[in-house]
Subunit: 340 residues, 2 copies
């Protein structure tokens, strides 16, 4: 009798439950060391006297160009944001390209122009890179892997681990969820929305710097990419002595995104974003944080969406607009492959 071989599924790349399981079994357990075992998006390293944050992501988005950005802008923003949410100041990027034979050089140029512009805006330098070309049909157009180094003030070391989170802390988001996923879906499926929708793809380090410089008591930050707000909420509370309670009516959501979710049967909580951050702050700093964020282009629609609670220990709960309450689990399966 043949034993069916276990294979990689699309859902292994979803950023949800199966992703976590795959990463744990095949990567973390095998490469185990005290830094990796933390499983934060940025590794915090001590290089002689200073702390550096170190993060990597591969971008395989389809299509390469979408409303509000392209794979190059995305690759810079994603890595900048991973460093920024660790409390680090992004400084240097590497960029590795895998390109399909036959890819138009004019498209490559648009992508690298966009990377140059975005890295300038974010104040980071692309300092090293690599290019591989594979035969036609052996990759889909272009994949970019960006890796970032940030300098971390030891004062902010606790942020990536969230070790200072406590009951009563406020949960804030800098704007509407799901814009990236639905904008990409729109161009992929050739959908005409009633209202123009752009990906939220943006570098968030300036917004975050403004909060840190103002002395806002930030306990934790995470950018809401694959897996969306829902997966992050579930991850933050996993195995913790506290819970999170979120008010659905407080979560910014554009009508066009809401409408698309209804049509396609998506839960906006799990949609990917590329310019959204969830911030946990001391409750006494929440209003101050909100007012700082609202002055920044990327935080205009910031909202306090919930709080850290004694209840729902180890879980995230949502008070829905219709009055019900539900526990938010990590994403299972894959809603939209190749969204980043």
């Amino acid at each position: 009798m043949a034993i069916q071989e276990q294979k990689v599924l699309l859902a292994h790349g979803s950023g949800g439950k199966l992703s976590s399981a795959l990463v744990k079994k095949y990567f973390i357990d095998k490469f185990s060391n005290p830094v990796l075992d933390q499983v934060t998006d940025s590794a915090i390293l001590k290089a002689d006297s200073s702390y550096i944050a170190f993060t990597t992501d591969s971008y395989v988005i389809d299509p390469v160009f979408f409303p509000g950005g392209d794979i190059g802008k995305l690759a810079v923003c994603g890595t900048v944001n991973d460093l920024a949410v660790a409390g680090a100041s992004p400084r240097f990027l590497s960029a590795a390209f895998v390109i399909e034979e036959g890819f138009p050089l004019s498209h490559l140029e648009m992508i690298t122009n966009s990377m140059a512009q975005t890295s300038g805006q974010a104040g980071v330098k692309i300092v090293t890179g690599d290019t591989k070309v594979v035969n036609r049909g052996k990759c889909d157009k272009i994949f970019i892997t960006t890796t970032g180094i940030g300098v971390l003030n030891p004062r902010y070391r606790h942020i990536s681990r969230g070790e200072n989170i406590k009951t009563g802390d406020a949960v804030i988001i800098n704007g509407s969820i799901g814009d990236h996923a639905i904008a990409v879906l729109g161009v992929r499926e050739n959908i005409r929305f009633e209202e123009e929708l752009f990906s939220d793809c943006a570098p968030l380090n300036t917004l975050i710097d403004e909060l840190l410089e103002a002395g806002v008591g930030i306990k934790f930050m995470r950018d809401l990419t694959r897996g969306g707000l829902g997966t992050i909420l579930a991850e933050v509370t996993e195995n913790k002595t506290y819970g999170i309670c979120i008010e659905e009516k407080q979560i910014p959501l554009k009508d066009v995104v809401k409408g698309a979710c209804e049509i396609f049967g998506f839960d906006p909580l799990y949609l990917a974003n590329e310019g959204k951050v969830m911030i946990v702050t001391d409750k006494n700093d929440a209003v101050k944080a909100l007012s700082i964020m609202k002055k920044n282009l990327y935080g205009k629609n910031a909202m306090i969406i919930g709080e850290i609670t004694k209840d729902f220990r180890g879980k995230a709960a949502l008070n829905s607009v219709t009055g019900g309450k539900r526990i938010i689990d990590k994403l299972t399966g894959e809603m939209l492959p190749r969204i980043c």
Copy 2:
């Protein structure tokens, strides 16, 4: 009249002339900054008080498993070696995976086992990573991008730039060329060689450490990957006031590799290696360097292959075994796509 669009060619990924041109036009010129503009394999960064080396490479080798290694071992060795040849001590790696839907998990496990083993051997820690899965047919099995951070003793800062190279310096190689390329070609084309051939894929940081610790006056090092010894020789001398003269008969070359080159019409000078380094040392240290290398597993067949010369200014010349002399140019076109 339609204007034919310029497209990416396989040769743009060869590591030779077209690669240089592509990288210059689309990457370096656009992302220009003092670090990137050096165009060294590892970027040297100053993070507060210490210097760090930073390098990235994507691995797209086909097939994923080959005699002497696999894509995982290759991805660790390649990045470790890029740091080591900059004079840096490799410390931390990130690993980003793009995996094709349907890839057997057992193969992924063999690859990550191999990465764990090789990083242990090299004394580096894999501290962060990423996994993306793309639909079947949208990439070929698995691509891995490793990015490395090394700590650089300021005493060795000159090495990656080769700024202390002078006439009379010795050019040393740690063993036979072309083993990797021909071993991969063998399995790809299902060739039975008379003698078993393995890729030379290996981490070279220990070998290099031994030389540095012994105080050998190393002026320059470069690992001989895509483009081979020939391309590196041409690059090292490009726009320089000195030349290089190499003795063909001194270059270690296995009979089986030589035979395959004759059959397939390859020039071994341009074949990819994954465990070979070219070292330029002060001539007075050449014999000492050679004796240290010969004691290391990865330097047993080390040879002094030539010297830095006043002649052939800005060029590399080869004294062939048949008595002729020829100028060594960078690789043009692509000999073996997806060799690393």
